[in-house]
């Protein structure tokens, strides 16, 4: 399409935009239908794991893909959400799961605000190192704190009854709850990305000095993005704890921060659907590998995928598909 054409017929452009949005909405509806039918086709616990990590990766992607900030410490939020929810639900039997999840998310959000205030004082590579170091601090706190169970973690967290009357011990009920949580998180990210705020965020990613010169308080924008991202990562961790009824140090380890980067990178940084696909692939891969003779090689294989992604597959699966689609159908 040439500029002359678009200038000549503005109505055609609007028409095309309308069609694009319509197509997008149709696509979302299709995805929701797939999500609703999925537990009858695949094992629900596996799907829940995918959804929790997909939400985690989407939250991470909001920061890396749209604000251009590489956090190497997102495991801290996942683990904080998980531990707080796990501790509350295990020690206060009267609490319903949604209260536990909200509390976990809230604490992760507060931690995100603290991390964010400190980390946005440095840019680029330093930002990554600061977040990594802060997450390691949180890791050591969880190792030593009395309520986390140290190396053993928290076990036997009850799933409880949603709103006090829907038992979540049934995997199907649990699945639909997790799916709803995921949709909420995804919708929030989708809304954020396409809002004026999201546009400013992208402007900061592309050229921060210019955004500053246009009068935007870029630190504030970055901080808000960091807090939203941390909150949703915490929500993912809290939900995961309810599903698997445990919280452990694995979630707080820096390997986990690396894994979420890999999921996002593999699926496509800065695409809405990429992190979901990346999470699906990485979780499936771990699942398959752990039952094969290659079980001990998971971390090596993830490392190899990492290297390949960085060297020659930087736009990720969804990014590549989008590029092919744009080339051939537009």
């Amino acid at each position: 399409m040439s500029d002359a054409q678009t200038l000549a017929r503005p109505s055609a452009v609007m028409e095309r935009q309308k069609r694009a949005i319509m197509r997008r909405n149709l696509f979302y509806v299709a995805l929701v239908v797939v999500g609703l039918v999925a537990p009858f086709v695949a094992y629900p616990v596996f799907l829940m794991k995918v959804l929790c990590f997909a939400l985690f990766a989407c939250a991470f992607n909001l920061l890396l893909g749209y604000a251009g900030l590489l956090s190497f410490g997102h495991a801290a939020f996942l683990a904080t959400g998980g531990y707080i929810t796990g501790y509350l639900l295990a020690s206060y039997p009267g609490l319903t799961p949604e209260i536990g999840i909200m509390a976990g998310t809230l604490v992760a959000t507060a931690l995100g605000a603290l991390f964010g205030i400190l980390a946005i004082r440095r840019q680029g590579i330093y930002f990554a190192m600061v977040t990594l170091a802060l997450a390691q601090l949180v890791y050591f706190v969880f190792v030593q704190a009395p309520f986390t169970g140290g190396e053993d973690g928290l076990h036997g967290v009850p799933r409880g009854e949603l709103l006090g009357f829907i038992s979540l011990s049934n995997n199907l009920a649990m699945y639909y709850f997790v799916f709803a949580v995921f949709l909420f998180g995804f919708a929030l990210i989708q809304r954020t990305v396409h809002s004026p705020y999201g546009q400013v965020l992208k402007a900061i990613r592309e050229n921060e000095p210019r955004a500053v010169s246009l009068g935007y308080n870029t630190d504030m924008y970055k901080l808000v993005a960091f807090v939203i991202s941390a909150a949703l990562a915490g929500l993912a961790g809290s939900t995961k704890t309810v599903v698997f009824q445990l919280a452990s140090l694995t979630d707080a380890h820096w390997h986990m921060s690396g894994e979420v980067i890999l999921m996002t990178l593999l699926g496509g940084v800065g695409t809405l659907l990429g992190p979901i696909m990346g999470a699906g692939i990485v979780v499936s891969l771990q699942h398959v590998l752990s039952q094969s003779p290659l079980g001990n090689w998971v971390s090596v294989i993830l490392g190899i995928i990492f290297v390949i992604c960085v060297l020659s597959f930087r736009s990720g699966i969804v990014g590549e598909i989008a590029r092919m689609y744009n080339k051939n159908f537009k």
Partner: protein, 295 residues
Amino acid sequence: MTMIFGVPLAVFMGQLTLGLVNGAFYALLSLGLAVIFGLLKIINFAHGAQYMLGAFAALLGFRYLGINYWLALILVPLVVGAFGMLLERYLLRKISHLDHLYGLLLTFGLALIIEGTLVNFFGVSGARYATPEVLQGGLDLGFMFLPTYRAWVLVAALAMCLFTWFMIERTRLGAYLRAGTENSQLMQAFGVNVPLLITLTYGFGVGLAAFAGVLAAPLYPVSPTMGSSLLIVVFAVVVIGGMGSIFGAIMTGLAMGVIEGLTKVYYPEAANTVIFLVMILVLMFRPAGLFGKEA
């Protein structure tokens, strides 16, 4: 018995030397990171893995080839450094034109591969590497007992730091390196082989890590994961000191080691975390780092 703030002098001095020794490792590793960062503008996430490779090469070289400690101290940094040069030449160079965060991610992937491979062959439990005979035992200084090997590590690490400083500040190659750090494109226009310089610099940084690894082998259990947790602390040290100056990297490394050692004496619960807490303070009051230039 002499007491210092309620702690016996011998205990105090013991932890102080231990802290200094740890600090020497922080200094060596953050120096290597800073040298690499200066020219390549990437943070070498594989630095911990390369440090671990140094320790492992010393261990395996002794076990299977009979290479003694002193030979290992010279050979291992060269071998691991050469391995680093291959990584730079065939992997890192391919992405050098991209955002430098990709370099961080690539080296992270490499660290996973190296660490994971060694875990599969040697497990996670640590192996012991014998201290060379000359350096066994210790000196009784009257107020404390100083193990000879610890004293040697301090001397060797500081000598290596000094050597690095000399190479960078007082030699022609070092002048090229400093010029390349300022403006590598202009350097290339002047006819300097910048890609080769970059390869050599990366190899040198990796060699420094491997040297630290050999020094560490008799001191700590040699295991595939010995590097990664250390590296995160070194990252915090780098954030505290900034990567602007060599002197800054060395001083910050030593100081953080001492602070960690003293925390072990007075408040052991926080010994693991104190460096991160210092980092938070520095970020709050001097965000560019103690010796940093840029914001």
